[in-house]
Symmetry: C2
Subunit: 611 residues, 2 copies
Amino acid sequence: MMEYIPYSSVEMKDGFWHSKQKLNREVTIFAVLEQFQKTGRFDALQCNWKPGMPNKPHIFWDSDIAKWVESAAYILQKGPDERLESICEWVIDQIEKNRTSEGYFNSFYLTVEPQGRWQGRGNHELYCAGHWIEAAVAYYEATGRDRFLHMMEEFARYIQQVFVKEQSASFVTPGHEEIELALYKLYRCTGKTEYRDLSKFFLDNRGVRPREPEAMGIQSHLPVREQKSAKGHAVRAMYLYSAMADIARDCCDQKMQEACEALFQDIVRHKLYITGGIGSSKHGEAFTIPYDLPNKEAYTETCAAIGLIFFSSRLLLSQVDSIYGDVVEQVLYNGFLSGLSLDGKAFFYTNPLELCPEWLEKDVDKPKEDQPWLPWLTQRVKVFGCSCCPPNVTRLLASLGGYQYTYEGDALWVHQYMDSEAVHGGMQIRQETQYPNDGRISITVDGVGRLAFRIPGWCSAYKIFLDGQPWEGEEKRGYVYLRLPPGRHNLELQLDMPCVLVEAHPRVREDAGRVAVRRGPVVYCVESVDNGPMVSEIMLDGKAFWEAEYEETYGMHILHTKGLRRNPDGFGDCLYREMVEDRLPVKITMVPYYAFANRGVSEMQVWLLRA
Amino acid sequence: MMEYIPYSSVEMKDGFWHSKQKLNREVTIFAVLEQFQKTGRFDALQCNWKPGMPNKPHIFWDSDIAKWVESAAYILQKGPDERLESICEWVIDQIEKNRTSEGYFNSFYLTVEPQGRWQGRGNHELYCAGHWIEAAVAYYEATGRDRFLHMMEEFARYIQQVFVKEQSASFVTPGHEEIELALYKLYRCTGKTEYRDLSKFFLDNRGVRPREPEAMGIQSHLPVREQKSAKGHAVRAMYLYSAMADIARDCCDQKMQEACEALFQDIVRHKLYITGGIGSSKHGEAFTIPYDLPNKEAYTETCAAIGLIFFSSRLLLSQVDSIYGDVVEQVLYNGFLSGLSLDGKAFFYTNPLELCPEWLEKDVDKPKEDQPWLPWLTQRVKVFGCSCCPPNVTRLLASLGGYQYTYEGDALWVHQYMDSEAVHGGMQIRQETQYPNDGRISITVDGVGRLAFRIPGWCSAYKIFLDGQPWEGEEKRGYVYLRLPPGRHNLELQLDMPCVLVEAHPRVREDAGRVAVRRGPVVYCVESVDNGPMVSEIMLDGKAFWEAEYEETYGMHILHTKGLRRNPDGFGDCLYREMVEDRLPVKITMVPYYAFANRGVSEMQVWLLRA
């Protein structure tokens, strides 16, 4: 069976992601730590909160810390960090000290609501447990120490007892999925099939009970094998679908596999922003109907983007098709990375494709939280009340090497292009590239008998050189395949990377008459800080000449071109007038979408008028 | 002082508005009656509701009946109708029978909440009283019978006693304005200045108390003379501003007049849809910030459009400027009339500029009322829970002649072009026209020494013939003025009325890259029932040739032209693709905006892409 070369075997050496991982390791993980300490999330683990005390624990706080520990573990895998390690150990100490004799730990239910254990389907209890399990697996893999892992195995067995044997909980499957993929990870780590079976139990029992209120929002409207259209809360959906993909492959469950593929196709064909964002609606943080992709109201939670990487990368293991690596890439460079500020200290929870700061000034005397017309945020912030995204960003960044390669025997598949070195089994792989700023990728391998690499969906022309000689490979489902004689070989891939204008399907009403700009996998946007106010007026045409200029701050190119906009002086006091041909040529500067809102409050727009 | 020639002196003779008034008189007033009877609104007037009985009266039901009676009175003015008259008398009987010894009548507070009288600023008590007063004035003018009027005078004096003398109410000024303009009408009808003074009392005391929560929503954030920007609930704002205009003129209150003009300019320059709709936001049914005019979310309540006619027509009395008549006309032919179905039996409360029935199918299992992303309605309905708009439509239609002319001495101003006959004082006026289908207007006058007529703002070329001879008049603030020798004269006005493309100010983000189509005062839209689905793809250019075809059902022309749209077949399963030049020529049919949604559920759009 094909497997990923794990993140632990892959080292970023240089280039874009190397610098992002460095930022994550040196800044972001500590920035998140500081906020989680300030807000009482770490203190909560001591389980000594009493009514009347400040910083009352919240039902999902454990998951925040768990994802932080998981991130720290991925970082520790790459090298020692005493501070990170001692905090992880302190966290594990708290769990050991405060967990019940059954192995149960939840800082909220052990303090705030002791009578509430397993009483609320929507209360994120199994969700928190799942994140603790993921953290324990990562920590074990990073340190080889199994104290945390064993505690979480006990917790998992206790969950099995409550939900399967005793059926004593007030619900059967969780309101927020996560436990399913975590249990599968625990099985993969320990080899104990009981955890996989428990994961499968939660999948099999989902959506089979009589219809519950708001079932669609939590993917309980149908048995999972009958779900073919992505629905409900986007993060929950991704976590569920990821577990479904795990179990489908592991158990050769054809119906589950078909459901996964249908769900994925539904997303890619109907519900995916060009930035890789998903979950267009604020209401329920959810998917809506096909082609409903509004730009200014786009919710597109950072965690949902991350979840889509989880789902897509798992599907790839069952069928090598470039669409899966394409989607991972599309998310990584755009709607995922937009969640993090350039300084590594602040986050977007939601990632709209259009922003106008004026919207914040609507005439109201209502409190801000009661203003449903507000855009989400115009600037990234250090922490949220519901702060799931920041530690999700850190754990994805820290484990990024794990999405680059899969292998089976002596066959190697290259899915992502990042300057890095990998040693795994008998394989050695050195990838050198300035990607995504440059389409040239040099891959030197040793111990690889068959090599396959993804031709990105955005790329319409490429060249291949094998050991310096032009080479024409067989392309199948977006991958070029070649056989290599024993020994060391160099593969050079040259992907054409022009700036292109992209249009959306006519059923995407909000993008009618509009184009977006993409260079390689990177989607661009205009900001008023470069282009003056009313960026909504900017028009591009297909004949535009593009100049790409490397911008150190972004680690990417910015783009310069010429476009048109109406002369704003012609209107005077009129709100409407007879149409006049008064489009003026203007210089336009575009920045990578991921980097928007890093220079103060600014208008921003991805989909521009097509002249 | 300039005054309007009252509706009672003007008779529609033929043409568009004659047919609408006929429909109103024969169908609409009875359709509203039937619904108000069915829903218990009429029964409530008997004040015998007890807890446990069905059809519990609502705080604003009285206002619905009052506006219905006012409408009936306008109709009765034009000719007898026993059924209407007997119902009016029945209503008046109920008030007489059930009112208190102080003269107070409110079917809600006399039954449901007897302890609540004058206890809630937001409870529409003075609003209902105001509508009763308006109805009483109209009924007196129609029938000459003063029973109702006297009862309402007593009510007004009681209000004066409670609010001015005793100050025993829990609030000083009402949460929903209306009493102010009603009291002014009562003063104009009776000549008793105490009612004008009470109206002025409510204006003078508004916004002078320490800031209240949500004060801006009800125009209480500032003293009225300091209000320069239109804010809050649009209907309330219009009713307030109308009273301000009345008092400003009557009392020569320069500061009040300046406030009125600033508020009007703020609306016309920043907050007015091309359809004449105002109040863009569902939240608080309110004005928002300048240039915030979304099309699909446009709230634009029918009552707010009517209120803008009230306000604009009053301002005209202080300063003859075509902008006031232009706005009345813009509202009448578009955002007001869209509130009524072609069959005269159903109503829109809100009048969006873009509609896509798919929006109703968003994947949710929440109840409809908890779906904030829903468009308002895709089809007109017979009655609403809050059914303020239907009787507002009937009373405006019935009194429409009153907006055509003003006079002062022997000078006559023609503001609106409608085929009609007027006899007032020594003046006789016969206006013959197919307007707005044709720009030719023939006006024959007798007893008029000075004649002025409005050149609509949409008109860029016109000709005038006086007694058959070409004539060049002096144009001042959008009116052409001429002196006439004694006797009978004919004025023929020929207004050029081509189809024009209109663009919106660059700060209206939602209309960037778009044009609307207008012919004369009539705004057009596309519907999918004519043009196939995805009307959002339709593109127009400035060189389009237009063919206008008279459509009996609408009493107006429909338009045919050619435009472009992308080939919808080229996408296959792709959500995005590199831009392709594949625009196909297509035939386009446009219908008057006011007539949209009369042929089943359909997509609709006013602002189209500019090719």
